[in-house]
Symmetry: C2
Subunit: 428 residues, 2 copies
């Protein structure tokens, strides 16, 4: 039973400032809910001379001022990035401090190791803010859905790409134009690679899938593919076929295997997930008891992220102020096997430019047929008379990825095929 809970805050960027502000402005509320005041004892910053709203004597540039302080109960890590955050978290946990982090990269890469280390030292490592920002996701997976066998997650968990895809769909513009707009509005960074190439979503998916399936998910298990190949015409075809294009993070369990992948995906336009627009995130979960549920909200930003961090801090502080033992942990199986992308089975959308002459469609469909890939529909239009070329769009029935990739490679060898413009997976 502690009379106050002392916090060491590592990092005072946008999110850190949000957390520090809320801890000051809502101190009375939090003290009431916890049963003891939450006090920020030290704040690790890079540049102590910068003007800030918090008390200047709390600032330090030396991480050991937090890690060495036996009075600090909870370390909140909001530095971001793998290094040095990983080392700080590891040391904090090893020295018996609870840790709350928003660090998706560290948790995705080292979560399993760090959680075991926390268990050894009888402390908690909480990371609600690492995926989905202000949307409760980690805690529902850890607690509220624990009675379920979860079969699938379909998630829009990167706001930047969802903003870009929404723009492309609504304004019929190409990727580069939409990206530029996102950058002007501050929704995309100057170097957008981590968002646009699906890396950010891959981190978050690894975190969610591990909790959903109770197994270790290596970042190397996550297949990811970005959105930069999508063109305005893909959105037009999608619409014509009754689909919306989203960058989906997909995790599925089948018996003793699981698959985790991030890629542009055609989803039926009447799905609630298809209606999630702009920078918003949404995570759809299929459980054997609960059926299909969906969580929606802002996946990034200082305030939403601090909501998640503070929920973790309050949870820990409530436990501490009441003298409880550490929080229950999800027990992991470690026995499930990751299925490589070549082994998955899904439907495909294939767009290509071919020579506009008789017999070409027959050549293409023969390639598919020989690989046992069955066609569900074909659209041929947009003949370019000058170039004597035509555009063909094929939707397949479920096929094995390996076969589909082989088909694409063989089609590429056909003299009549000018370009395979895009291959997009479809989820129904």
């Amino acid at each position: 039973m502690k009379d106050k809970i002392e916090i060491g805050l590592m990092g005072l960027g946008v999110v850190g400032v949000g957390v520090e502000n809320a801890l000051r402005e809502k101190a009375a509320d939090f003290a009431k809910q916890v049963g003891a005041p939450l006090v920020v004892k030290r704040i690790l910053v890079r540049d102590p001379s910068k003007k800030r709203a918090c008390q200047p004597h709390l600032l330090t540039t030396n991480p050991q001022h937090i890690l060495d302080d036996p009075g600090i109960d909870i370390v909140v890590e909001v530095i971001g990035g793998e290094s040095p955050a990983y080392d700080y978290i590891k040391e904090a946990v090893s020295r018996g401090k609870h840790v709350v982090t928003a660090n998706k990269e560290v948790i995705a890469k080292h979560g399993f190791e760090l959680l075991s280390l926390a268990a050894e030292h009888n402390v908690a490592l909480l990371y609600e803010a690492s995926a989905g920002g202000g949307i409760p996701l980690i805690s529902p997976l850890r607690h509220d859905l624990l009675a379920n066998k979860i079969s699938a997650i379909h998630a829009i968990i990167n706001g930047t790409t969802n903003y870009i895809l929404t723009k492309m769909a609504l304004e019929d513009i190409d990727f580069t134009a939409a990206l530029r707009e996102a950058q002007e509005l501050g929704y995309a960074e100057a170097d957008p690679a981590s968002d646009v190439e699906g890396i950010d979503a891959a981190y978050k998916l690894a975190i969610l899938a591990a909790l959903a399936f109770h197994t270790q998910v290596l970042l190397e298990d996550v297949y990811y593919e970005g959105i930069s190949r999508l063109a305005a015409r893909d959105f037009r075809y999608a619409k014509e076929l009754g689909y919306t294009v989203k960058l989906l993070a997909i995790a599925k369990r089948e018996d003793n295997t699981f698959q985790v992948r991030v890629h542009p995906t055609f989803i039926p336009e009447d799905l609630l997930l298809a209606k999630v627009n702009g920078v918003f995130n949404a995570v759809q979960i299929d459980g054997d008891l609960t059926g299909r549920i969906l969580f929606y909200g802002q996946g990034a930003g200082a305030l939403p992220t601090s909501s998640a961090i503070l929920a973790d801090v309050i949870r820990l502080a409530q436990n501490m102020s009441q003298g409880s033992s550490p929080m229950p942990r999800v027990q992991m199986d470690q026995t499930m096997i990751a299925k490589p992308i070549s082994e998955i089975e899904t439907r495909y959308y294939l767009r290509m430019t071919v020579a506009d002459r008789p017999g070409v469609l027959a050549q293409i469909t023969r390639v598919l047929g020989e690989l046992l890939i069955s066609i569900s529909s074909v659209i041929q239009k947009e003949v370019d008379e000058r170039a004597q070329s035509a555009e063909i769009v094929i939707m397949t029935h479920p096929a094995r990825e390996r076969a589909m990739q082989q088909a694409v490679s063989e089609m590429n060898k056909l003299e009549a095929v000018r370009e395979i413009s895009n291959l997009v997976r479809v989820e129904d």
Copy 2:
């Protein structure tokens, strides 16, 4: 540190069977997550001769066989209804047993008293299944959103009425036809009053608002109004005006007051909430940190409800098997004042039939003008030449409910007004 957790199950209807099945079929999983097996020790039933899947020697018709048994750690109440469930919960809690219940009526009417009693006896009373079925709602409000000041909840929390309203919207049919269809499919009961009149939603709203605002919400504070006055033409006008009609449960906080109300509502058709169709539920929450979030899923049914009950059971059992003190409780203020419906301010949709002659619209708008109700748009069409009548639809700007009700009453006195067909509140 207990070597097994013993459960007394009260009630073996659809939900009880779901819970009992899952506890048997998933016993190994649950034991792993809890650290000790969960054992159903006794089951209270009305008719012990009925054929059932569970072991017959567990059945009893005597509640004292559960309440008097010092070995039983957790009582799961799934009888439903106010009496005798209320008495059983009260006795269980008073005798130091943790209680998990799905009983919205008991929690809405007696939750505050029972939670205080549980606190006195150092046990937990958990009720995740009482609102939103398989959608995690209570736990996110208790834990994950605790750092937020929640300003509003807008919820579709009754599947029966949402099914009926979806049918009316999509098939352009009237209430009675849609209700009949819902009854044929088992989505509405033979006596549909509790659902259709908004009582079920009122219970759930009282529960959610109390947790969101950290205050006692009396059931008497909840204004409710059903959907039976809605006609197919209201849906047509709604669509024309860019709205969808939903039975919304609305809770709003302003300074030291709050309002809680359930009624048919026009909501903008581009809102995610407007796209929640059929028997599905969704709860939209506005928090100061997290911004707008939304939880979506199945609000009823044996499996979704048992998912919520089992989450509560596992949570308690984890705490017990690890020798922890009871779960943190949300501290209630008790200082907020409920605002009566007459004091709310909102926009209105008003549909009426009037005599088709000059000067009638002037009379009507004069009534509104004198009560300082400002009009945002008027539609007049659908003239019935035989009856010499016309239909007028008025959308207002925000107005005080008291003024609007007075306006309706004065319009009713106008000789030219044949009928005030409907008055529906609007949320933007």
